[in-house]
Amino acid sequence: MVNGVPSSITSTSSITAEGLVKHFADVHAVNGVSLDVPTGTVLGLLGPNGAGKTTVVRILTTTLHPDAGRAVVAGHDVVASPQAVRRSIGLAGQYAAVDENLTGRENLTLVGRLSHLTKSVAARRAVELLDQFHLSDAGNRPARTYSGGMRRRLDLAAALVTHPPVLLLDEPTAGLDPASRQDLWEVIGNLVADGTTVLLTTQYLEEADRLADRIVVIDKGLVVAEGTAAELKSRLGETTLALGFADVESATLAAVRLADFNAVRPATAETTVRLPLRGGARVVRDVLNRLADAGIEVGRLDLHEPTLDDVFLSLTGTP
């Protein structure tokens, strides 16, 4: 979004936020966040702990009033018509928000009833969702007997009880083992294929890379970057060439020799020299020739493609 003109709220966006502000005594504050999620797309909200991701989600789900700014979700203003927003959204939280003492089926039926589905529809939806999330066998067991991955699936299923057109997922895979995470990614991927609009917060760059059409990076309550994963990576620029040497002296010498290739001088006690690879393979040859002429032996050679981790690190200074 270029500026905060309200005309940007159009019918083709399912989530629009403009200049959201929410202050707290401690961290997690939001200092003017604007977002736009076109209908049927996935926005990844990426940021370190305490960046304000959950605060943004809480404003969009109407559970927190913004101090300033406005947000429209599924065509309804979150402050003016919160009940209409609640009818259109599903929320899966950071903590698997299921009742441990209720069975999987009861958890889903309860959410259905509280979403004002009729008893029979709520019951049918519960059966469908248990099936869809591979929880049918565990459906009549209390959720406290579930594994972490099963709880997350149940939590996600609960968010889908009313087929909401807009889904907000607050760190849906935080704390899961890799297999369960893959599993959940597949489920979310299928949802997106069905045309659901998703806002997903995450600390995992891989997750944003895999699931999100567009990524917004926030840090300390501010948007610090946005774009597709590819755009963000290209912003960080080039592939890097890393050259490893036998000792610190050769490394320092090499860095001096390669100064016009924009080589970065190694830190003290470092034996690796990095330089941006502008111009492809030809540059590699030139670099190696230059070093060979100077009689410096190259021990190791690595090509480093930029990852979202690099983007994240360079933008927020936090890994």
Partner: protein
């Protein structure tokens, strides 16, 4: 799977106002059911709920009881209504613990994102805990009977006494709902409850006659809600002048509920 997905919109679902009184009642009952199911699934909680008052019964009946004389009344008869009130008061802590746990686990956040009635989460919690209190009071009546407590009125008056106890628990539940929403987990709720309840329950006429307390304490011990409830329950179960005591106890319970419940609901709204 996914053969014939259930169509949710628009027919199966009331798109009309989700805020009507009827929905409020339905949502409150759904939440009450949910909370009672939890109590049913973890019956140990109910057992623990009567262990503490039972220890008090045994202590005051057999350890301290011999040294306590209340003129004109068998001490066990004096003691048990006090124990009943204490049981209800401590039972109300459940409301704070239950809400704080739901909050800590993120369940409140999900409920607040649903188009349900705004008062149903608290209403359902308080109603479930009140229902639980009915069971606990009946169990304590049986235990009282076992240690020699006898009622001296008729069944209707005894039931009225039970009703007053449950009403008192209901009123305190609203206070604890407010506490539960203000802390972050069950342990904190538990910890916050005791300093509040101790002066109410122990500096009262629940176990002893306040006339032997120091003057500065006596006034408080005679005119506070726990004493009012214990007085009224004694009158209902043991006899003597009843009307004023019952009305005073009811005034406390209704007063507390009417003042605190709206504050708690607003707090839930903006928590």
């Amino acid at each position: 799977m996914n053969t014939a997905p259930t169509e949710i919109r628009p027919t199966a679902r009331s798109v009309a106002a989700d805020d009507g009184v009827l929905w409020a009642v339905r949502d409150t009952l759904a939440m009450t059911w949910r909370n009672l199911t939890t109590i049913r699934r973890v019956p140990q909680l109910l057992v623990f709920a009567i262990i503490q008052p039972t220890i008090f019964v045994l202590m005051f009946r057999y350890v301290f009881g011999g040294s306590i004389t209340i003129p004109g009344i068998n001490y066990v008869d004096y003691l048990m209504p006090g124990i009943f009130v204490q049981t209800c008061a401590f039972g109300a802590i459940n409301t704070a613990v239950g809400l704080a746990e739901d909050k800590g686990k993120g369940l409140l956040e999900r409920l607040r994102s649903l188009p349900m009635s705004r008062s149903a989460v608290l209403g359902g919690r308080v109603l479930a805990d009140t229902t639980r209190n009915v069971f606990v009071v009946l169990l304590m009546l049986a235990i009282g009977y076992a240690v020699g407590f006898r009622t001296h009125t008729n069944a209707i008056m005894v039931l009225l006494g039970v009703g007053l106890l449950v009403l008192f628990g209901f009123a305190l539940s609203w206070i604890f709902a407010l506490i539960g929403l203000s802390v972050t987990n069950g342990e904190a709720a538990q910890a916050a409850a005791f300093p509040l309840l101790a002066p109410l329950v122990f500096a009262s006429n629940a176990f002893v006659d306040p006339s032997k307390m120091p003057g500065w304490l006596r006034g408080w011990a005679r005119h506070q809600p726990v004493s009012a409830a214990a007085d009224a329950v004694r009158a209902c179960m043991l006899g003597g002048p009843t009307a004023t005591k019952v009305l005073t106890a009811m005034a406390w319970s209704f007063g507390i509920s009417l003042v605190i419940a709206p504050i708690a609901v607003r707090r839930y709204h903006h928590a």
